[in-house]
């Protein structure tokens, strides 16, 4: 639980990064959100054996990290946290798909390994792009942008409140776990039954708190919509950012640049 608490503390750091003031931070959240969406769509739409074609896409996160002055090491560590998921998703590919696909100087590489590499590369690209979006816009900015591009209020309100109360929930859970461990000795009390009861209590407390929060919201005139005082203005630079990157992504998607460059070199 303590680990989760420190992880969340890191989430707070991600939020603080969003408070910086760089050209990327100043862009309209909608421009960044839509650009990231185009990026994600292009990256996931490649066929399963693509590796080289994906490489040019790394330009986008690298450029954003550089211009926005984000700590690359920190983002990399965040990424490692979700990495096991990607590693497991494709782990069986090399066994199932043993058709030789590539021949690199005498070493034959099967289709499974190539598709596994493709999965990992896609994971790397999509997660870094999403992390840079949050680190330059803030979770809240992303939610405001989602709402403004037409996502229903019910969803964005849920997202915002879930994020806000994640911190409260985890610290409450951490206190309960600490209280349990102080009264359990030699594995006694750490079994499934006390665990179930603990989770049940946490649920009950959460429901109580949700009720109180709802009262607090009603007391201040809440009627289903979270109005944000953040005024969004879509300026020419935002349009250029969105269109420029989107066109580049389409180019990367339609033309396999590394292959083309390779041919150019071989032909030359």
């Amino acid at each position: 639980m303590a680990d989760i608490a420190t992880t969340l503390f890191d989430l707070g750091r991600l939020d603080r990064l969003a408070c910086a003031d760089t050209p990327v931070h100043r862009l309209d959240p909608r421009a960044k959100l839509l650009t990231t969406l185009v990026f994600l769509l292009c990256v996931v739409s490649f066929d399963r054996y693509s590796v080289a074609g994906l490489l040019p896409f790394s330009l986008y996160p690298v450029a954003i990290i550089a211009v926005a002055g984000l700590p690359a090491g920190f983002l990399f560590k965040k990424m490692l946290m979700v990495a096991p998921l990607a590693l497991l998703v494709g782990i069986a590919n090399p066994w199932f798909d043993q058709v030789p696909l590539l021949d690199l100087g005498g070493i034959t590489i099967s289709g499974g390994w190539v598709s596994y590499a493709s999965i990992l590369l896609r994971f790397l690209l999509t997660v870094t792009a999403t992390l840079t979006l949050i680190a330059t816009t803030g979770f809240h900015g992303v939610c405001v942008a989602l709402r403004r591009i037409g996502v229903p209020a019910a969803m964005t309100v849920q997202l915002l409140l879930a994020y806000r109360y994640l911190f409260v929930l985890v610290s409450e859970g951490a206190r309960m776990v600490r209280a349990r461990s102080l009264r359990s000795f030699r594995r006694q009390g750490e079994g499934f039954a006390p665990y179930a009861s603990l989770v049940g209590h946490l649920l009950l407390r959460t429901i109580d708190r949700a009720q109180r929060i709802h009262h607090a919201m009603l007391a201040r005139g809440f009627s289903g919509e979270l109005h944000s005082p953040v005024l969004l203005r879509f300026r020419p630079t935002d349009t250029i950012f969105l269109l420029g990157w989107s066109m580049l992504f389409l180019l990367f998607r339609l033309v396999n640049l590394p292959q083309w460059l390779g041919r150019l070199v071989v032909a030359g």
Binding site: G12, D15, C19, G138, F139, H140, L160, L161, Y163, R164, Y165, F167, V168, R209, R212, I213, H215, A216, M217, L218, A219, R220, G221, F222, S223, L226, H227, S228, P229, V230, L231
Partner: protein, 249 residues
């Protein structure tokens, strides 16, 4: 007629599990009064407060705020004129930043952006929290959270301020600042609390509750001298009115 008036007539409330939380409660609080609501745990203070801003509606009897009876139809008006400060600021600060939290109420009132901005600035200045504007609400200290929670309510420009345990979990300095702050408000104030020393500083009138009933209602000074009443209501004389532990006088 004044909007700053709070009147309860023969209010009863029974929870679904048949515990009677309020039993014929009646009182009238007039413009600018500062009233303490004291009593043991489970005396019915919180249930009573919930009736004041329409979180609960009267099962029997009536609640009036100013000229308006509290009913389902008048809820928006009641909630505009009664500002409620909750016991746990974490329940009240649900927006990502302090600014947005304070702006939440005014925006829901449909005020124009400049007016929202002005109200947020005024409310934050009032509680001395101008510097916290851009901070995320969940990373504030206990005292800061309490002040911002009060600001969220002030920004609605309520006529009546209702507070549930405002001094709980504050350090002594933050508590002292809160007392100065409360004394600087000219709103009608209703404060439910166990902090009887705070009551001495802030409230001239005190209502004592016990098991859902009003045991006494009168000037704070007189009530705190009535040791029999305090004992029956599971209370104790405020520390300042007790004999000195060193010299016994």
């Amino acid at each position: 007629m004044s909007h700053h008036l709070v009147e309860l007539t023969d209010l009863n409330y029974t929870y679904p599990d048949a515990t009677q939380a309020l039993d014929s409660v009646s009182f009238r609080i007039t413009h600018g009064e500062s009233v303490a609501l004291v009593g043991a745990n489970g005396a019915g203070k919180s249930t009573l407060l919930m009736h004041l801003n329409g979180a609960l509606l009267a099962q029997h009897g009536a609640v009036r705020i100013g000229d308006i009876p509290a009913t389902r139809a008048t809820l928006p008006e009641i909630r505009r004129s009664v500002g409620m400060v909750f016991q746990d600021p974490d329940d009240q600060l649900f927006m990502p930043t302090v600014f947005e939290d304070v702006a939440f109420g005014p925006l829901n009132l449909g005020l124009p952006p400049e007016e929202v901005e002005r109200r947020v600035n005024d409310a934050l200045a009032r509680v001395g929290a101008e510097g916290l504007r851009k901070r995320p609400s969940h990373h504030l200290s206990g005292g800061e959270k309490r002040n911002v929670a009060i600001a969220t309510v002030l920004a609605m420009q309520p006529d009546v301020l209702v507070m549930d345990e405002p001094s709980s979990s504050l350090d002594p300095l933050a508590r002292r600042r809160l007392i100065y702050l409360l004394n600087s408000f000219d709103h009608t104030k209703i404060i439910a609390t166990h902090d009887l020393d705070l009551v001495l500083d802030v409230c001239r009138r005190t209502i004592v509750m016990h098991q859902g009933r009003i045991m006494a209602d009168g000037p704070t000074g007189e009530i705190f001298q009535d040791e029999g009443l305090l004992r029956r209501s599971h209370l104790e004389k405020p520390l300042r009115l007790q004999a000195c532990p060193v010299c016994g006088r």
